[in-house]
Each structure stands twice: as structure tokens, then as C-alpha cells.
């Protein structure tokens, strides 16, 4: 089932519709946090801002689910990407065989969003080109 935005996460999902990964950071420290919320959990009174993440990251960990739910085509990796900005997020790795051989830990990844419907584009990632 596709996610649905809340008021707090709307800019994140709006950004993805345009192919941009919008996340938030503390304006004073520059430190990013995730998932989106209207305050920085390390300092709830600090000013925060949305910014476009670089779309660069590395493969932190994953499993390959051999019993995926309906809508997934065969064994599918559920992965976590470590973003260059320091936060991490769950994702699927597209344009890549879903095998331990192809999915090497710490490999470079880049953002490659997947449109689901007019409201939701998912932040999927793929192996970085030229990596």
C-alpha cells in the first residue's frame, strides 16, 4: 500500500514528485535529521530548514526478502542507504540484480525515484553510475 503524506511530511513527498530528495536540518548546526518532523529531535527549539539532499549514499545493510508481498516481482532487497548527509533511510535498490553478489555492502548508491501514482513517488536508489 502506497504511503500517504501528513502535514509534517508533505514537503518530503512533494519533493520526490519532482525527483528531489528534500530532508531537514538544524539551521545552526547544519546537522540533518530524518524522518521529517517540524523540529530537530536533538534541539526541539532550534530553527530548522528543508534542503535538497545530494542523492548520494552507500549501502549500509539489507535483507533479500524471499517471500515478498503482492506487487513485488520475486525476491526483493529491503535495504538501508546511508546518505552523504549522515541520515539513513529504508529503500529498494532498483536497476540491480537482487542478489548478494550484486549487492555489496558499502557500495555507492544514487537516488533513483520510482513514481507510484500522482501523489507518491518513492525514494528508491540504484548503484551509482560509474561506481
Amino acid at each position: 500500500m502506497a504511503p500517504q503524506a501528513t502535514p509534517e511530511t508533505q514537503p518530503y513527498w512533494d519533493g520526490l514528485k519532482e525527483g528531489k530528495l528534500m530532508i531537514q536540518r538544524n539551521k545552526a548546526t547544519g546537522k540533518a535529521y530524518f524522518p521529517p518532523r517540524p523540529f530537530d529531535p536533538s534541539d526541539p527549539w532550534a530553527e530548522v530548514e528543508w534542503f535538497q539532499a545530494s542523492g548520494k549514499g552507500t549501502l549500509l545493510s539489507y535483507v533479500i526478502n524471499h517471500r515478498p508481498p503482492p506487487g513485488f516481482d520475486g525476491p526483493t532487497a529491503i535495504a538501508v542507504v546511508q546518505l552523504a548527509e549522515g541520515v539513513k533511510m529504508a529503500t529498494n535498490i532498483v536497476d540491480c540484480p537482487q542478489t548478494p553478489e550484486a549487492l555489496q555492502l558499502d557500495m555507492a548508491l544514487e537516488l533513483a525515484p520510482t513514481k507510484v501514482n500522482d501523489e507518491i513517488t518513492l525514494p528508491t536508489w540504484r548503484p551509482a553510475k560509474g561506481a
Binding site: 504511503p3 545493510s61 539489507y62 506487487g71 538501508v80 529504508a90 558499502d106
Partner: protein
């Protein structure tokens, strides 16, 4: 801080079948039957109980169904370690005078699915739905396991070593008439079993069963008047970290474990070398590794070798998961109650794989997928 040994477990009962099912009970019925058996064990009636705690049913349902009029209720429901946390809260409540006699119940029609509530993750706007569920997990086997490849690589641990956790726990299950899986297994058996979510194979994953259990706690001063040997609570701990396993701060360590475990040790005023018996909630084979490290029994990355060297097997220096664990004994969904029950049996001297002369037992639970944690340290001697 609670005083070590001021509160004791005076009633305990467990419902576990080697068949893994109780088709004649609903989930609420399992709560109630376990509660009734614990009351019988303690020689108490519902009118003697003034505190109720449970997860998997609401304390309102359980109190109503059992005819209890409580002055203290605890509906903490943070997954399988909820019962460890219920013990912790009951200790505080009894010490503070909120209740004299607390009944903690667990009942779960995890296999048969009779009268069971839904899995609360469906809402499309939840944090889980927006930031995790869309990636396609199929329940805990493909979620709780996500951090493990990172852990294995970081500490250079092999899948064979991970498999060894299941192999050794089966040695205990073989001694336990109520265990669902008793036949010996080898590392090869584990690594040849069906792939569920790479790198996790079937025999690295917990069973799916029905089951129930209940505990009764009261002040240690009253405990000597009960029919069974009191089991004193020395210390407890609790914490939570994240509803999403993919947002754990550190994929090689659980923050909730690192808070709950040391809190319990501090309260109990004991050292790791004082521990005779250990339970670490094992929904999957990696949990005992994280638990041994995060509770400080071994250093980071050392748990697999510690287990592989035989320290936790029958006759080893730190017997671990002596009922066979969630991997081989039973696992109805929220396993924490069964870990507590085995600790109580070990302290009463009635466990099928009894650790000779055991005086201190640690029972450590996880809730959700590294979401929560609770730790209880017990002893059969009042400090």
C-alpha cells in the same frame, strides 16, 4: 531506585505445548487460563489480586474476565518485552503502595489466530508506512534482520557462526518435553534450510505458536507465606528506541538494550560474573549476539565466538536460553513471558535443563524490532 529483593514472584504458570497450539482457547481465554493457573500456584483468588498488567489483551478485558477489581493497572504494550516492563512497573507499584499483589498475564493465539487483534502497522500515514513498509517486508523475518549484514561485516562474523546460535539452543530444547523442536541440528542443517530473508534461513527464525503465561508479584515480606519458593526481583530496566528498525542509531548494537540492561544491573548491584543463568529473547538468531554484547557479558563483536566456544551450551559457564528459546521451544509472537517463566523455573530449581545451584538469573527481552527492551534480574536468595 527500587530496593533489591523487596518484591518477589510468588506465583507462576505457563502454557506451552510441544504441538505449538491451544485450539480450544481464544487469546483472551489464554490470558485468563494462565492467570488462573498462576493464582492456583500462589494459593490466591481473584479477590486477592489488586493489580493487573498485560499485553495482547487490555488490562480492562483481563480484569473484567477474571473478576478482579484492581487499584493498579498497566497496559504497557511495546512488544515481546512488555512483560519484563510489567515486572519493573509492578515492583515500583508494590513498593509505592499502589497495589499489594500484581497479576501479569500473557496469552497469544499466535498460530491459531483465535480472537487475536490486528497488526497495527497498516495506516498509510504512520511513520512505518511512510518510511519503511513500502520497501516490501513481510513481517519480522524480513525486518528484524535488516541490520545484521552490517553487523556480520563489521565484526567479520560468518553465517556459520550465526547458525551456531540455533544449533546450541536446540541442545537445550532436546532436554525440554514441552519444546516444539527437539531433534538435534547441525550448522549444515541450518544453512541448508529454506531461505526466508537473506541471510536468514528458516532455522534462524523463531517458531510460530500459541501460548500463555502469568506471574504474580507481591512484597518480599509476604512472600514467605506462599506455597512456592519466592523468586526475588533484584533489579529491572526498560527503554525504547525506534518504531522503525531501519532508523536504529547503530546497526551493530541496540540502544534500548544498552539502557535497559545496565539499568537492571545497577539496581541489582551485581556483576556479570554473579550471573548463573541468562535468557535473551531470541526471535531470530542474531538477538543473543546483540544481547550478550549490549548487556556487557562480552565486548562488541565477541558474542559469536563466545557462543561458538561453548560457553552458553549445557554445562557451559553461562547457560543461555535454557528452554530452547524462541528458535526451538515456543514463540507465540510476544515471547518475553516465556523467558521470564524459564528464569523463574531456574530459580525455583524446577527447569527441565536445570542449571545446578543457580542463584541469579537475568531475563532480557526485546520488543518490536529493536524497538523496545526490558530486563529483569531475579534471585532465589533475598539480598
Amino acid at each position: 531506585m527500587p530496593t533489591p529483593g523487596k518484591v518477589a514472584i510468588v506465583g507462576a504458570a505457563e502454557m506451552v505445548s510441544p504441538l505449538g497450539v491451544f485450539p480450544e482457547y481464544s487469546q483472551l481465554g489464554l490470558h485468563a487460563e494462565a492467570g488462573i493457573r498462576a493464582m492456583k500456584d500462589a494459593g490466591l483468588k481473584p479477590s486477592d489480586i489488586d493489580g493487573v498488567a498485560c499485553a495482547g489483551a487490555s488490562p480492562t478485558e483481563t480484569a473484567f474476565y477474571l473478576g478482579i477489581t484492581p487499584t493498579y493497572v498497566d497496559g504497557t504494550q511495546v512488544g515481546g518485552c512488555s512483560f519484563m516492563i510489567h515486572v519493573r512497573h509492578a515492583v515500583a507499584a508494590i513498593e509505592a503502595g499502589l497495589a499489594t499483589t500484581v497479576l501479569i498475564t500473557h496469552g497469544e493465539s499466535g498460530k491459531s489466530g483465535i480472537g487475536r487483534g490486528g497488526y497495527p502497522m497498516g495506516a498509510r500515514q504512520s511513520l512505518n508506512a511512510q518510511f519503511e513498509q513500502w520497501t516490501g517486508p513481510t513481517g519480522p523475518p524480513s525486518m528484524f534482520t535488516i541490520p545484521v549484514l552490517h553487523y556480520l561485516k563489521k565484526y567479520n562474523i560468518t553465517q556459520e557462526q550465526l547458525a551456531m546460535v540455533a544449533v546450541i539452543q536446540r541442545e537445550y530444547a532436546a532436554k525440554n518435553p514441552n519444546a516444539m523442536m527437539k531433534d538435534p541440528i547441525t550448522v549444515e542443517d541450518v544453512l541448508n534450510s529454506r531461505m526466508i530473508a537473506y541471510p536468514f534461513r528458516l532455522l534462524m527464525c523463531c517458531l510460530v505458536t500459541d501460548g500463555a503465561g502469568a506471574l504474580i508479584l507481591t512484597s518480599a515480606d509476604r512472600a514467605k507465606d506462599f506455597p512456592t519458593k519466592p523468586v526475588y526481583i533484584l533489579g529491572t530496566g526498560e527503554s525504547v528506541e525506534t518504531p522503525m528498525v531501519t532508523q536504529m542509531e547503530d546497526f551493530s548494537s541496540s540502544r534500548a538494550f544498552r539502557v535497559a540492561g545496565p539499568t537492571a544491573f545497577r539496581e541489582a548491584g551485581i556483576k556479570h560474573s554473579d550471573v548463573d543463568h541468562l535468557m535473551i529473547y531470541d526471535a531470530f538468531a542474531h538477538l543473543p549476539l546483540y544481547g550478550l554484547e549490549d548487556l556487557g557479558f562480552v565486548g562488541p563483536g565477541e558474542a559469536a565466538a563466545f557462543i561458538g566456544d561453548g560457553n552458553t551450551r549445557p554445562g557451559g559457564k553461562l547457560p543461555l536460553n535454557t528452554n530452547g528459546g524462541g528458535l526451538s521451544y515456543t514463540h507465540s509472537g510476544m515471547y518475553g513471558m516465556y523467558a521470564l517463566q524459564e528464569s523463574v523455573r531456574q530459580m525455583r530449581g524446577t527447569a527441565p535443563a536445570q542449571v545446578p545451584g543457580a542463584k541469579i538469573s537475568v531475563s532480557h527481552g526485546v520488543g518490536g524490532m529493536f524497538a523496545a527492551s526490558g530486563t529483569v534480574i531475579m534471585s532465589n536468595e533475598r539480598p
